[in-house]
């Protein structure tokens, strides 16, 4: 892995000082997401050793950071122009309903809103996270998808997430994820992550933790 996401020194203060503008979500960006949805449908190939080392490891590390509630370090895995997207619809992809430009989602965070989310989780008064959620992410079935975007690598995987909050029953979530990786300043970063929940169109009890 050519990045060191466990490095120290990235704190909530860094996030507070990070971008306060939202400049890159535009028609071209939404068009890219629509194209992604088509590409995720492709026939994937299992990862070779090099790809496992570069990408599967990073996804597994992402899972670990989330399970450790190391949100500040997790945030560092993402590129400067990134999105964390959880559609609210099932049967993906569907040309109209999967289009976040036309549809509301469970989460559609650009870098700024991702920062907002972490700052919000860290306020200590987000009562939906008192007590906090603890999660266990399991990812498997990693495949690489062909992509027409030069310089991008697309990895699809299946996931199982269990979430436990004291006083509440354990919740289980499953589905598939798509990760789009790019190189930024020589470091592999997540540019886009889509989390497609099996039960996305159903009513959810507290999805305030990160998937």
């Amino acid at each position: 892995m050519n990045t060191d996401p466990m490095q120290d020194g990235f704190t909530l203060e860094d996030i507070l000082r990070d971008t306060l503008e939202s400049t890159y979500i535009d028609d071209a960006y939404y068009a890219k997401l629509r194209n992604d949805m088509q590409e995720w449908e492709g026939c994937g190939t299992v990862l070779n050793n090099e790809e496992r080392h570069a990408y599967e490891s990073l996804i597994l590390h992402e899972n670990w950071l989330l399970d450790r509630r190391a949100f500040e370090k997790w945030y560092q895995l993402y590129s400067r122009e990134c999105v964390y997207w959880v559609p609210a619809v099932g049967d993906l992809p569907d040309a109209e309903r999967a289009d976040p430009q036309r549809q509301v989602t469970i989460a559609f965070d650009d870098r700024r809103r991702l920062g907002d989310r972490i700052v919000w989780l860290r306020t200590g008064v987000a009562y939906s996270q008192l007590p906090p959620s603890y999660t266990s992410h399991v990812s498997t079935a990693f495949v690489r998808l062909p992509s027409e975007n030069a310089g991008e690598v697309k990895i699809r995987s299946q996931f199982l997430i269990q979430e436990m909050r004291a006083g509440h029953e354990i919740q289980t979530f499953s589905g598939w994820m798509g990760h789009v990786f790019i190189k930024e300043d020589g470091v592999t970063k997540i540019a886009r992550k889509v989390v497609c929940l099996l039960d996305a169109p159903r009513n959810h009890h507290n999805l305030t933790f990160l998937l």
Binding site: L16, L20, E21, S22, T23, Y24, I25, D26, D27, Y30, V83, A88, V89, R97, P100, Q101, R102, Q103, V104, T105, I106, A107, F108, D109, D110, R112, R113, G115, D116, R117, V119, W120, T123, V125, A126, Y127, S128, L130, P201, R202, N203, H204, H205, N206, L207, T208
Partner: protein, 433 residues
């Protein structure tokens, strides 16, 4: 205290400044609510934009009843009970679609989308007394106001617009923020599940007392990230000294007006992805009219609640769907505004803005409602307080002749319970014509 839920009398549970906890915890009371309140008054069913074309339908609930809302070939709306008159199976098993007829999958009895029984397989198996005209689907009385479709079993209620009273004019104000624009649903939903009684959600919908406290996380995050001036700052401090008001809209309807606190909607908006790019495009396209278009991206500054299940908040429509005495679904329908003179970039921003409060606001409220439900199970502490500003002399007759008060007034709770009592004691009006 023991509750005789077979008795139609509940007034001993509702006092001037407090109500009894069992109203939130008693399963028998819940069952009565589902038959007498949901459907016993004009109850929101669906929005016309969910079924835009002739023969479109959507599947909904009315209390615990499965219903189908249809648009017939002439454009008229119908509310049908989703229950085959033969042996009871639901006949519609899709959330939405387009159909002139619904055919029961069990024995293929077939009904028109206006509710008539159209065909029965091997009909000669029935004798001369068999009358298809008597075996149409159960039907609601249905009326709509500006696309909002309501249904009831109650034949004694006045027409919908009269029933809505001042809420109708407030709905006009909400809809006419961009004159001529059409409100469109089918833009996705944020669907919550809450382990609490449905009334905890309605109680909160016109509660101007809680935001500075229940939404401390949102307010603190905004301040730490963006400083002052952004979104919901009016919730801080002594809100009764601010410009917000609460009002009684009649028939259980309530209203919070925040608009006087908002000088420029766009400037005071919550942050949203795409803000800079689309602001630039909208200004390029609209010039002088751009400011007005950007303002309709943001929420309306209005919380209009129509008893018992429709909450219009910001730019969204929330529908309360009770599941059981201590479980409720709250469905937030995202909305778009469509007009020839309004660029669609406005809706690209509205989608993102309508994720903000469901992400950073509503979940904390739901957590508090669930903790209310837990606390209300304690038998030894019987009462819930509803008397704030009941006797402070701060209430007055305000706009549209509505009884109004400072924003932390618990007037909306008292309005709700007055209507609740009237409807729960009216007897079961469940007549499906």
């Amino acid at each position: 205290m023991s509750i005789q839920t077979s008795s139609p009398h509940f007034d001993h549970l509702i006092e001037a400044g407090r109500v009894h906890r069992t109203l939130y915890t008693d399963g028998d009371i819940f069952d009565l609510e589902m038959s007498r309140i949901f459907g016993g008054t004009w109850t929101f069913l669906a929005h016309a934009s969910e079924l835009p074309k002739p023969n479109d339908f959507v599947r909904k609930r009315l209390g615990k009843r499965p219903v189908i809302v249809t648009r017939d070939r002439d454009g008229n709306f119908h509310g049908l009970l989703n229950r085959c008159t033969h042996r009871g199976a639901t006949i519609c098993r899709h959330d939405e679609g387009n159909a002139r007829r619904f055919t029961c999958p069990y024995h293929n009895w077939s009904f028109t989308n206006t509710g008539d029984l159209a065909a029965v397989p091997i009909e000669d198996g029935y004798g001369p007394a068999f009358d298809k005209q008597e075996l149409g689907l159960g039907k609601l009385r249905v009326e709509s106001y500006r696309g909002f479709i309501f249904g009831t079993f109650n034949t004694e209620l006045p027409d919908l617009k009269t029933h809505l009273g001042p809420s109708a004019a407030l709905l006009d104000e909400w809809l006419d923020r961009w004159p001529g624009a059409e409100l469109q649903l089918r833009r996705g939903q944020t669907k919550f599940s809450c382990a609490g009684n449905w009334k905890l959600i309605y109680d909160n919908a016109a509660d101007g007392y809680h935001p500075g406290y229940s939404h401390a996380s949102l307010l603190r995050m905004r301040k730490d990230r963006y400083g002052g001036g952004v979104d919901m700052q009016w919730a801080l401090g002594n809100v009764d000294e601010g410009l917000q008001t609460v009002s009684d809209c009649g028939n259980g309807g309530t209203f919070i007006d925040q608009r006087a606190e908002i000088k420029r909607f766009w400037d005071q908006s919550a942050p949203m992805p795409g803000e800079s790019a689309y602001e630039r495009v909208i200004k390029e396209k609209l010039g002088d009219k751009a400011d007005a278009a950007l303002d309709v991206v943001m929420g309306s500054g209005m919380n209009l609640n129509i008893f018992p299940n429709l909450l219009i908040i910001g730019n969204q429509i929330q529908v309360i769907e009770p599941q059981s005495v201590n479980k409720t679904h709250i469905n937030w329908y995202a909305t778009a505004l469509v007009a020839d003179d309004l660029p669609d970039e406005v809706n690209s921003l509205r989608m993102r803005l309508q994720e903000d409060f469901p992400s950073f606001g509503e979940p904390d409220d739901l957590a508090n409602f669930e903790e209310c439900q837990i606390g209300l199970e304690i038998e030894e502490v019987e009462w819930v307080q509803t008397g704030r500003h009941l006797d402070t002399g701060k209430e007055y007759i305000g706009a549209k002749g509505m009884l109004s008060g400072p924003v932390s007034d618990e007037l909306p709770l008292r309005v709700f319970w007055k209507e609740w009592l009237k409807r729960i004691e009216q007897g079961n009006l469940g007549v499906a014509k």
